[in-house]
């Protein structure tokens, strides 16, 4: 699905990501974990086109066989053409627009294509009406999925925190992604909201979208991921199933800061 090979991102003298290679398989939930400052968000920003990697390749393969070299694509094309959606660590909703509008903005490219360069739709002609009805239907589907149908006409900024998190995920799903990248989706959620989030993510996976997620909440990571990549100081230190990761002494050392002497090359 997603093959990251030899990815390096340098900020001046700092190597935030250092020749990282990993793979996210189709239909899996792949988690990227690691201590603060390990370079997880930088990897995300490279994949979603917010940073241009110094070296390395990021190749996305669609289920239909099409391949996209993400490291060469323009930022907005990664979402529009390669169908990689993302959410942000600090929620970035359109706070002054309603929940429904947020979901419609996400379908911009599909809807825009139906407006005949805007001219026909301004005049009320063309097939925009049908396209808009389909867009509303999709929005309604996701509103039901995140349980916010009753609040569809409220401004997104007025929602409680947990609902904003879910809305951001639903909004990302409205671009019909093949890969959804979530940057700490469980941050700041209470246990009940966290459980709802797990159910939502599993549902998204079962509907055929692969997931890549950064998460600190080990409860979420261990319960739902199929595959875990562990980063520390920009390097991959471990890679495997949740059970394997849990047993890996290198991971424990990185997280707890134990066994310093192990890290000194012999």
């Amino acid at each position: 699905m997603l093959a990251v090979a030899d990815l390096t991102m340098r900020f001046g003298g700092l190597r935030a990501v250092d020749s990282l290679s990993f793979e996210a398989r189709k239909g899996d939930i792949t988690a990227v974990i690691g201590p603060n400052g390990a370079g997880k968000t930088t990897v995300f920003n490279c994949i979603t086109g917010f940073y241009r990697p110094t070296t390395g390749t990021i190749v996305l393969t669609h289920p239909n066989g099409g391949t996209y070299a993400l490291q060469r694509m323009q930022g907005h094309r990664i979402a529009a053409a390669a169908k990689v959606a993302r959410t942000f660590q600090n929620i970035r909703l359109f706070a002054g627009m309603t929940v429904l509008e947020n979901l419609l903005v996400a379908q911009h490219n599909t809807l825009m294509a139906a407006t005949g360069f805007g001219v026909l739709a301004v005049l009320g002609l063309g097939r925009y009406r049908t396209a808009e009805a389909a867009g509303m239907e999709k929005a309604r589907h996701w509103l039901d999925a995140i349980g916010l149908t009753a609040r569809a006409d409220d401004p997104a900024g007025a929602l409680p925190y947990g609902a904003q998190r879910r809305l951001e995920i639903a909004r990302a799903m409205c671009i019909d992604p093949v890969l959804l990248c979530l940057d700490e989706p469980a941050a700041g959620l209470n246990p009940r909201e966290s459980e709802e989030l797990n159910q939502l993510l599993l549902r998204i996976r079962d509907e055929g979208c692969s997931l890549l997620l950064i998460e600190h909440d080990m409860g979420v990571v261990m319960r739902i991921s199929d595959h875990i990549v562990v980063l520390d100081h920009g390097k991959k230190i471990s890679d495997g199933t949740p059970a394997e990761i849990r047993a890996d002494p290198g991971v424990i050392a990185a997280y707890l800061g134990e066994g310093e002497e192990d890290e000194v090359p012999a």
Partner: protein, 439 residues
């Protein structure tokens, strides 16, 4: 209460310091050169006003919390439903007063309403602070004047051309400023406005420089000219009525009314379409837009282009109404006035912009009338020297009114946001949730 009195007294003292020399002393040229005239009454009036005003503000603030909540926004929106048709009817009925003064004033107000609505697309919806909007107004005006006079094209042929040319310049301005935000964008657009004006002043061979272009052709009604000779093919001849200047004035009034309504209609339609929603999303969060696959560059350019196009239409109308244009008509003051209208009206609100234009352009005019009327009533010798100058204070009073306005309603007259679409019921959005243009 004592605290309030103390505060008001101090304010009055500061006012005395400032206005004492500024208002109280006037140099008049007498028989033996300049002489100094002292006006204690004028100073007393100003200082008294400030004392009373400060006291009023303090006592008003003490009475209950500020009302800037959702209920207010919704009440304003509901009132808007009644205000809009009333305003529209009044606008259509205005020429039936037959007063040339009112029709001219109405035309001026409508021009600013149209400019306000055009700028509202850029500043209010897309959130791009544009301080050089007058540039597109100028491009439209000169496009019309030059096309009409060089190629002999009529107003209705040139109008779309002027709009397209202005839109082209909007896109050209848009390209270099795409990466800029807030203050930086404002500075570059400001410079762009000045560049256009300076080019128009100095490119004498094309624009006739500071002397301007005179004899810009007037518009026709389906080929019927409004000329005073009443010859064949003129309006007067066709309808078999005596030609009069007022006919052309009324016609121009309806032209600008139509153009303004077109601007309004297109803006309202676009707001409900993906493009308009993308503009507003851009204002709210550019990074999120990019992550959703919206082409930020093109979306910004369309906002610049469409906003500029309406500026160009208004410019072409300005040229044909005045019959004379020169770079002096396109100073920064115009940009500032239009921006003030948009900000005062409430960013993104169509009705707010219309009300603000009426208040700013029409209100200033009404204030002048009122002050000269007041001055005429003050016959007492106590007011000697003030009464005749009273109309000059209108801008000062107006400035104070604007400051008060911005204190009371910092997000403009109509500051809430009406969602573009609803699943069940449209609910007004409180202004504090809506993002402003980044500045």
């Amino acid at each position: 209460m004592r605290g309030a009195l103390r505060d008001a007294f101090l304010s009055a003292l500061v006012a005395l310091g400032i206005f004492g020399p500024m208002v109280g002393l006037v140099s008049t040229s007498g028989d033996h050169g300049l002489s100094l005239q002292v006006r204690p009454i004028a100073v007393a009036v100003v200082v008294g006003l400030i004392f009373a005003g400060r006291l009023l503000i303090l006592s008003w603030r003490g009475g209950g919390p500020r009302q800037r909540n959702l209920a207010l926004a919704e009440r304003v929106a509901r009132a808007g439903k009644y205000i809009t048709p009333i305003l529209l009817l009044a606008a259509i009925a205005l020429p039936f007063t037959g007063s040339r003064y009112y029709i001219d004033l109405g035309t001026l107000v409508l021009t600013y309403i149209m400019l306000g609505w055009g700028l509202n697309i850029v500043v209010g919806l897309a959130g791009l602070l544009d301080l050089g909007y007058v540039a597109f107004y100028a491009v439209g005006a000169y496009s019309y004047a030059l096309l009409a006079m060089t190629f002999g094209l009529g107003f209705w042929t040139c109008l779309p051309l002027a709009g397209i040319l202005a839109a082209l310049w909007g896109v050209m301005l848009g390209f270099p400023v795409l990466r800029l935000r807030g203050d930086y964008l404002a500075i570059v657009t400001l410079a762009f406005g000045e560049i256009i004006r300076i080019v128009l002043t100095n490119w004498v061979s094309l624009t006739n420089g500071p002397n301007g272009i005179s004899g810009v052709p007037r518009p026709t009604l389906f080929g019927l000219a409004f000329s005073m000779d009443g010859g064949p093919g003129t309006f007067g001849d066709f309808f078999n009525i005596e030609p009069a200047v007022i006919q052309r004035i009324i016609f121009l009034y309806y032209v600008i009314l139509g153009l303004a309504l077109l601007t309004n209609w297109v803006s309202l339609r676009l707001r409900r379409l993906p493009l308009g929603r993308a503009w507003e999303a851009l204002r709210e969060d550019e990074v999120a837009c990019r992550s959703l696959g919206i082409n930020v560059r093109n979306t910004k350019l369309t906002a610049f282009g469409i906003g500029a196009m309406f500026g160009g239409f208004a410019g072409a109308f300005f040229a044909t109404r005045q019959g004379f244009i020169s770079p002096e008509s396109f100073t920064f003051m115009e940009s500032a006035t239009v921006l003030a209208i948009v900000v005062l009206g409430g960013l993104g609100s169509q009705l707010g912009v219309a009300l603000a234009a009426i208040a700013m352009i029409g209100g200033l005019e009404a204030l002048r009338d009122f002050l000269s009327f007041l001055g005429d009533q003050m016959n007492s010798p106590v007011f000697a020297g003030i009464a005749s100058e009273l109309p000059l204070y209108r801008v000062l009073i107006f400035g104070i009114a604007l400051v008060v306005m911005m204190v009371l309603r910092p997000r403009g007259l109509i500051s809430g946001r009406t969602p573009s679409v609803a699943l069940t019921k449209l609910k007004e959005i409180a202004p504090d949730l809506v993002a402003e243009s980044r500045s």
